[in-house]
């Protein structure tokens, strides 16, 4: 338990360079906890020469089994964008996909993580414009799931 808490705090500390001076998010808030899970998954991508830059803006909510939600974002050509979706249950098998303004699925590179409750997708938009991030939850899970999406660009 101590190791898990340390892991959480260390991961968050790396992301927020000045974490000591700031209020840490209330981790008893399930959405904040999901956000931190997503940030942990994103960490390797946010370091190194080819790193992505994490935006402070994020989205969260609660989702019924088998349902989907759409997030509207403006993306810019020549940039790459990566989105991470986290949910609490390891059986959640969430999905995250990007659609263009006509509703067409955008080719992406998808990533999954140990535990199966965090997924990520990377896109390189061919045109500048509005896109839709579709987050969804498999139908066979029993309980609704809290979720959080973070994103980064380079």
């Amino acid at each position: 338990m101590r190791v898990r808490l340390s892991a959480l705090l260390l991961a968050f500390g790396i992301i927020c360079a000045s974490a000591q001076e700031e209020q840490l998010p209330a981790l008893d808030n399930p959405h904040n906890y999901m956000k931190v899970l997503a940030q942990k998954a994103a960490l390797p991508t946010l370091q190194g020469d080819e790193k992505f830059i994490l935006r402070e803006s994020w989205w969260s909510g609660n989702m019924e089994p088998g349902k989907a939600k759409l997030i509207q974002v403006q993306l810019f050509r020549r940039n790459s964008y990566q989105f991470w979706l986290a949910m609490p249950s390891r059986d959640a098998e969430p999905l995250i996909n990007v659609y263009d303004s006509e509703g067409n699925l955008v080719p992406s590179e998808s990533f999954d993580f140990e535990g199966k409750n965090i997924v990520s997708t990377m896109v390189q938009p061919e045109i500048t414009g509005v896109y839709y991030i579709r987050v969804s939850l498999k139908t066979t899970i029993e309980n609704p799931q809290d979720w959080a999406v973070i994103y980064a660009y380079r």
Binding site: Q72, R78, L95, Y99, E102, E109, Y132, R134
Partner: protein, 266 residues
């Protein structure tokens, strides 16, 4: 240390692949009334847009830095837009790696935070911006600017000042768009002009602005905001080739500049 870090970072990438996810529908009907949209809109920060432009070649961002003075009055709507504008100027300063302009911005942020009721939340970030700029730690300054913007928005939501949130976002977008249009005007390329193709984003900003209570957008300045957004909506739309003409880029540059100056000077 590495193994300890690996232990801590329990999340590891199992694999990745390019292509389409098999479970995801290949097409969705965006007009489907059963679709559920997440209401929170995220406005791109200037650096996100500048990053794309810089991939086409180095730009002279230093030319976009302007030292503008402002007077804080009792109009909180204007102050909120000014706040967004000042943050966007900070992003331009970071892009240009201009220490003095970013340090000045840190002080401006503090001056504007007080009438908006977000001083204590902003102070730590503003100091980090000023100190980071002094040391040339641009990555930290960029992060602190984004944090400042987000912290202020979160606090305003907490204070039930939603109308101010929309105006901070609008000011930030306006400042970034003014700089982008100015760079493209000075060094036009059809390829780069597509970054100004933002009709849906403007529609959203316009809708957010028009949805504000009338008391929050009373006066000549806000009439100008409304008219400029209307004008920009018709300009910031690419043609069949995917570009925005040089003439339109010049118009966008003028319209955004006039509005920015009006916000500073009113």
């Amino acid at each position: 240390m590495m193994s300890r870090l690996s232990l801590f970072l329990v999340v590891s990438v199992l694999g990745s692949q390019w292509g389409f996810s098999q479970e995801a529908p290949v097409k969705i009907d965006l007009e489907d009334p059963n679709l559920v949209f997440v209401p929170d809109s995220v406005i791109p920060i200037p650096l996100e847009i500048f990053a794309s432009l810089d991939k086409m070649g180095a730009q002279d961002w230093g030319r976009q830095i302007e030292s503008r003075d402002f007077r804080v009055d009792t109009n909180r709507s204007r102050t909120a837009m000014l706040f967004g504008l000042v943050i966007s100027e900070g992003f331009i300063g970071v892009q240009a790696e201009d220490k003095e302009s970013v340090r000045r911005l840190g002080r401006d942020v503090l001056a504007l935070a007080q009438p908006l009721g977000v001083s204590s939340e902003v102070e730590v970030h503003a100091n980090a911006i000023i100190n980071g700029a002094g040391r040339g730690e641009w990555e930290n300054v960029r992060q602190e600017l984004d944090k400042t913007r987000q912290t202020v928005i979160n606090k305003m939501k907490e204070n039930r000042d939603e109308q101010l949130v929309a105006l901070v976002s609008l000011g930030g977008w306006l400042g970034g768009t003014e700089a982008l249009a100015s760079v493209l005007r000075d060094n036009y390329s059809a390829e780069g002009s597509d970054l100004l193709n933002q009709p849906d984003l403007i529609k959203q900003l316009k809708s957010d602005f028009n949805g504000l209570p009338k008391r929050a957008r009373r006066g000549d300045l806000f009439t100008q905001v409304s008219q400029t957004l209307e004008h920009l909506e018709s300009l910031m739309r690419s043609d069949d080739s995917g570009a925005i003409s040089e003439g339109k880029v010049i118009e966008i540059s003028l319209a955004t500049r006039n509005l920015v100056e009006a916000i500073y000077e009113s």
